[in-house]
Amino acid sequence: MPSVCFYFQVHQPFRLRHYTVFDSADTYFDEFKNASICRKVANKCYLPTNRLLLKMIQRYEGRFKCSFSVTGVVLEQFQKYCPEVMSTFDALAETGCVEFIGETYFHSLSFLYSRGEFTEQIDQHTDLIGRLWGQKPRVFRNTELIYNNQLAETIESMGRFDAIITEGADRILGHRNSNFLYRPPNCQRVRLLLKNYALSDDIAFRFSNRGWEEWPLDAPKFSRWIDQVNGCGHMVNLFMDYETFGEHQWEDTGIFDFMYHLPEHVLRHPDNNFKTPSEIIDSYPVMDTIDVPHVISWADTERDLSAWLGNAMQSNALHELYKIEKLVKQTQNAAIIEDWKKLQTSDHFYYMCTKYFSDGDVHKYFNPYDSPYDSYINFMNVLSNLRLRCREALTEQNVAEQAS
């Protein structure tokens, strides 16, 4: 009776423009690049996949369901650069078969540095989802599925989330598997939905890999793997980047056909169904408590923070960024606060990752910079300017106060 639970992550950062130490303008983001990337990915992925899901929901008359976590920063870009993506999301929301998940508006690492900022960004995101699609997220996912016991406690104390999504990492599961609901220690309300990384990655990473022994992967084969969960699980959590469809796995790999036919084969087994995360937590009992004292994430094989905090540049940049939180907020200047928040997007720190850099792998593919060093220099130059703007704004405030 496994329920298949799809959750797609939709995110694009506001990439920085080239900013040298000699620059002094207060425009930090590369409008042109962000617009063109957003449109490119919209045409390859967001638009065709949204339309595909709409078609699937119609074809299977509501028996196919899925969920999305869409960051605030990508929604801003959709509204600005390709509003047609917004209307397809609107259409999906109206079907009632799509659930929206809560996260930090800026796809930030704020949980690790500032709890105040963290909850502020979740509230901001929740407001936006409510405004756009009339949903109040019941399920939370943190940036890159970064998670530990403390995160669960923080979310529990916010009093409005029923579950958290995170990685089904082997080291937290031990002999258990990811196909059941779990609970964090010291939490009454919040439950845990864990990613089935093996089956998720079969679609997200291995689908088009001709060196993979299971290639080519088709819907009947994949649904047989889902059937095998019968008796050893309540659900199969397939969590992945939405860009899997059409961007990471190109259309000619057959990924859209695979997706379109999947429900047909999954639903052939009468015990199988599709559920959204909220339906999952309403349907199944908690099996056990999962203790996660150390931070985990869904990144790389390490499934830790090393992609964002693996070297001295990354920790320095993050440290310097959150060090000016008070200063930024004191200015009460909307533009300054907005820029500071956009600098928190985790991608900026991911670009500084030196892990695997020499090998030229997936990290490079997503990186607009030639090297992690260039990205650090750029970020720090922007941050220096932002700090300067804060000081100037505060001086002006003081002058104004003294004058009045």
């Binding site: 040298t20 320095n316 030196t354 850099f357 260039d374 650090y376 130059n381």
Partner: protein
């Protein structure tokens, strides 16, 4: 496997990267059991030998004027050195050469009767009684000197013809390489460390270009030090792609560099940005100065050290003064040995703004000394290094931006240093030597 190798310079008497490269390569070849006869146009003064252990000149025969034969032991045990008294000097212009030559003529007569005969025979055959003045006359130009070196090399080769391959390093030795290969029938490998286009931009010396072209075309195999150089060889010299192999240079790893880390702590708070190389057009010293001026707009406590000499030295000193940054730029002259170590230990950043750099060993040495590196994208070494900063040599703004960043953000310097030092450890001469052996074996299939 025995190799008859023709070079220009060898440590400790070096003026650039070629000597360093020959030393590293021959040492590793020697470790692989390759026997090398190394012919040099300059005498080696053994009293100054540092890391190369050599015995005193064993067979110095006055009748073979200007030739020395030096046996070595230790790490270069498979290498025998022959030097030919000659004013040939790797990084020189015909005008400079003329001056040096006159000095030497003052001291001694140059050519033995025997070698002149061999050479004249070869010259006749090669150039069909062409446009070249017979070398014995001493027209006094570099061209004939290059051929006199060739003649001497042929004579040496005929004395000990038991080698399998001729390996010639850069243009001055190509005529010698061609001559030795022609006379002995052994395959020729030419090793391109630099081309005339790197040294002179578009204003190439036609004579040197012709020598280079002839060498590359006569060779059975051409070794280029980078893909950048390989491209030049293919497009500018019309050599077929399948003949050109890329073998990157390496670097020797010296220990005891850790001292520098301690010295960093006790140094004054003045930062040091280092340029180390010949002060000549190819190395882009003026871009370094222009970037320095921009950096000084942003940061006060920094000094720019230019270590090296060259034909642009006076112009660069004047330029620094004209820019009003003369007090911030220090010129050390040519450094060698321990002085090089010292200057690296002081440096916060090494900058190589080369306009055209076939490879560039110096950045590897800087990384080896735990100094972060900023190199121009127009360098072959940029193909192999990832944990360095890269910039187009003409982009002064970006060069200054990156210099300031290194001085201003310590974690950048730290990360570059850690990863760079780790990365450079993978670039070993032993790898380059093994690839060379592969090239030899392909040419001499019978030998194993």
């Amino acid at each position: 496997m025995k190799v008859f190798m023709l070079g220009w310079e060898f440590p400790p008497f070096i003026s650039g990267g070629l000597g360093t490269a020959c030393h590293g390569l021959t040492k590793s070849l020697s470790n692989l059991g390759i026997k090398i006869t190394f012919v040099l146009p300059k005498p080696i003064e053994t009293s100054h030998s540092t890391h190369v252990e050599m015995l005193t000149p064993a067979h110095y025969r006055p009748d073979q004027i200007g030739e020395e034969f030096i046996e070595t032991t230790g790490e270069l045990k498979n290498i025998r050195f022959h030097t030919i008294q000659s004013p040939l000097h790797p990084y020189t212009t015909p005008e400079e050469y003329q001056k040096r030559l006159e000095e030497i003529i003052q001291q001694k007569k140059l050519l033995s009767v025997e070698s002149r005969q061999v050479f004249d025979q070869w010259l006749k055959k090669e150039f069909e009684g062409g446009h070249v003045e017979p070398a014995g006359h001493y027209g006094g130009d570099m061209y004939s000197e290059v051929h006199r070196y060739a003649a001497a090399a042929v004579r040496l080769a005929l004395q000990q013809p038991d080698f399998d391959v001729v390996h010639a390093h850069d243009w001055m030795t190509y005529p010698a390489g061609i001559a030795v290969a022609t006379v002995t029938g052994k395959p020729l490998v030419v090793h391109v460390h630099s081309t005339e286009f790197d040294r002179s931009g578009e204003h190439v010396n036609q004579m040197i270009y012709d020598i280079e072209r002839r060498g590359m075309h006569a060779a059975s195999k051409v070794i280029a030090v980078s893909y950048l150089t390989r491209n030049i060889i293919l497009t500018r010299y019309g050599v077929l792609g399948e003949k050109v192999e890329v073998i990157y240079n390496g670097v020797e790893h010296e220990e005891n560099n850790r001292l520098s880390a301690q010295q960093v702590g006790i140094r004054s708070d003045e930062k040091i940005v280092l340029f180390l190389g010949r002060i000549t057009m190819q190395k882009g010293p003026e871009y370094f100065l222009m970037a320095a001026r921009k950096v000084l707009e942003e940061i006060e406590n920094v000094k720019f050290v230019m270590a090296g000499t060259g034909d642009m030295m006076h112009r660069i000193i004047e330029m620094a003064a004209q820019m009003g940054i003369g007090h911030k730029v220090l010129f050390t002259g040519f450094l060698r040995g321990d002085d090089v170590n010292k200057v690296y230990q002081m440096a916060d950043l090494y900058v190589m703004p080369s306009v055209s750099e076939p490879f560039g060993i110096a950045p590897l040495e800087a990384l080896n000394h735990d100094v972060p590196v900023l190199i121009s994208k127009q360098s072959g070494v940029a193909e192999v290094l990832t944990h360095v900063l890269k910039v187009d040599f003409w982009d002064i703004q970006e060069m200054a931006n990156k210099i300031v960043a290194v001085l201003k953000y310590p974690p950048l310097q730290m990360t570059l240093r850690e990863h760079g030092n780790f990365e450079v450890r993978k670039l070993k001469w032993s790898g380059a030597a093994a690839r060379c052996v592969q090239v030899y074996q392909d040419l001499v299939p019978a030998m194993k």
